[in-house]
C-alpha cells in the first residue's frame, strides 16, 4: 500500500446503493475531509454476497473475480497501486477471500480465467475502509482531524463475524479479541465500551428463514452492550446494522430494553468531523439516533 492518501479504486456493492446509502455517503464525505477520494469502479457486478464455503466453489468465485479484474485493469491503466477499497463487510469478506483463494491456487485462477474469458493476473489487494484509516491514514492523524467533543458518547464497538473471519485469509485483526474499532473510537475521543458480545453473530442471513432467532441473538448482543453501559453501537456491516436495528421492533423480545441506535462507524466519524449529516440517512434508522447525537454533540438534526 502506498503511504500517500490519494484516489483509490472503490467497490461499493449492491447494498451500498440501496439500503446503506447513509453508510456510503458518510464514508465519502469523511474521505474528502481526510484527503482521499473513493473512486468507484465504472463497471461492477454483485459479488455474490456470501463467499461459498465448500471447495467446489468455482461458480461462486466468478462474480468476485470479475470485480478484481475490473479493479486490476483500472489500476494498470492509471498506474496506481492495485488496491481495491470496500465498505460493506460482506463484499469485503467475499472479495478478500477470493483474492486469497486465487493467490493460493493457480489452477483455480486459470479455470476461472478460462471460463470468464478474461485474464486476472492476481495483483489486487482488497482493503477495508477501516483498514485504510488504520494503515494508510493512521488513527493518530485521524484524531487530529476531530472537531467535535465526543467524550460524552458511550459507544460499543461491534465487530460481528465477517470483518474478521477466517483470520488466516482476512488477517485484519484478532477474531476473538479485536481492537481496530476500539482504536478507531479512541481516536475520535469517544468513551469506548468494551463488551463481551462484540464478536457474537447477529444471525446474519438467517433473518430470511428464522427471524425469531435473529431477534434473540440481536437482543443478547444489545442487552450485553447495554449492561456494560453503551448508549449506541457502531458496526461496519449493513446486515448487522439491519438485524440489530430492526429486531428492536420486536417488542416482546425487547420488552426490557430501551431502544439503542445502531450507527455505521462512518456516520459517527462524520459527527466527529462536525460535518453536515443531512444526506447520511440517520432518519431512516429504526431506532432514531438523532436525539442522542444532538444531546451529545450539539449536532443539529437538519436531516429530519
Amino acid at each position: 500500500m502506498s503511504d500517500k492518501p490519494a484516489r483509490i479504486p472503490y467497490y461499493p456493492g449492491c447494498t451500498m446503493k440501496t439500503k446503506a446509502l447513509g453508510f456510503e455517503r458518510s464514508a465519502m464525505d469523511c474521505a474528502e475531509v481526510i484527503g482521499f477520494e473513493m473512486d468507484e469502479l465504472k463497471d461492477w457486478n454483485c459479488c455474490g454476497a456470501s463467499y461459498p464455503l465448500t471447495k467446489d466453489n468455482l461458480m461462486g468465485l466468478t462474480a468476485p473475480t470479475n470485480i478484481l479484474i475490473e479493479a486490476e485493469r483500472r489500476c494498470q491503466k492509471e498506474e496506481v497501486d492495485p488496491n481495491l477499497l470496500t465498505l460493506c463487510v460482506f463484499c469485503y469478506n467475499t472479495l478478500k477471500r477470493t483474492e486469497f483463494a486465487l493467490g493460493q491456487d493457480k489452477k483455480k485462477l486459470e479455470t476461472i480465467n478460462a471460463f470468464l474469458d478474461r485474464k486476472y493476473e492476481g495483483s489486487v489487494r482488497v482493503v477495508h475502509y477501516l483498514e485504510y484509516l488504520r494503515d494508510v491514514i493512521g488513527f493518530d492523524n485521524l484524531a487530529k482531524m476531530v472537531k467535535t467533543d465526543m467524550s460524552k458518547f458511550k459507544v460499543a464497538p461491534y465487530y460481528g463475524c465477517l470483518l474478521l473471519k477466517p483470520q488466516k485469509e482476512i488477517g485484519l485483526d484478532d477474531p476473538e479479541d479485536p481492537v481496530i474499532l476500539h482504536n478507531f473510537l479512541d481516536a475520535l475521543g469517544c468513551k469506548v465500551i468494551d463488551f463481551p458480545a462484540q464478536v457474537d453473530c447477529c444471525g446474519s442471513y438467517l433473518v430470511m428463514r428464522e427471524p425469531e432467532k435473529v431477534s434473540k441473538l440481536s437482543y443478547d448482543i444489545l442487552a450485553d452492550a447495554n449492561e456494560y453501559g453503551a448508549e449506541t453501537l457502531v458496526t461496519a456491516c449493513p446486515l448487522c446494522q439491519s438485524n440489530l436495528d430492526q429486531s428492536q421492533g420486536d417488542k416482546v423480545q425487547f420488552a426490557d430494553l430501551d431502544g439503542m441506535p445502531i450507527l455505521y462507524f462512518t456516520q459517527l466519524l462524520a459527527i466527529a468531523f462536525g460535518l453536515d449529516t443531512k444526506t447520511h440517512k440517520l432518519e431512516e434508522h429504526h431506532i432514531d439516533p438523532l436525539p442522542l447525537l444532538k444531546a451529545h454533540s450539539g449536532a443539529d438534526s437538519e436531516s429530519k
Binding site: 439500503k19 456470501s50 465448500t54 471447495k55 477466517p166 444471525g203 442471513y205 449493513p238
Partner: protein, 130 residues
Amino acid sequence: MLINPVEKDQKRISDLELATGETISDCYQCGKCTAGCPASMDPAPSVLIQFLKLGQFELARNAESIWSCMACLTCSERCPKNVSPAAIIEGLKNLHLRDMDPRVDLETMSRDFLARSPQMAIISGFRKFI
C-alpha cells in the same frame, strides 16, 4: 440410538469430503465447535460430524439443524484440528439444493421482508436456502 455403520454411505461421505475439501476423520470430537455455536443447533455441529465419522450419512444429511447454520465461522476458526464444520454443513445443504429442494418459498416470502432487508441478506439467503 443404535448406530450401525452403513457401507454404501462411505462413498457418499468421501464425495462430501471431496466437495468440501474437509477430512472428516481429522475431527477428534472435542466439542469446541459446538460450544461456540450461536445457532442452538440440534444435532449440534460436532454431533453432525460424529454421524459422518460413524458412517451415518443420512442422519447428517437429513438433520433439520443444518438449515440453522448462519456461516458465522466461529466453529471453523476455533477448531483445533483445522476442520471447518461450517464447510461440511454447507456441503450437506448443497446436496439438497442441488436436488432442487429449496428451503425457503419465494411465493410466500413477505413483501415487507424483501422491501426492508439489505440486499446481502436476500442474496445470501438465496444462496443458502434456494
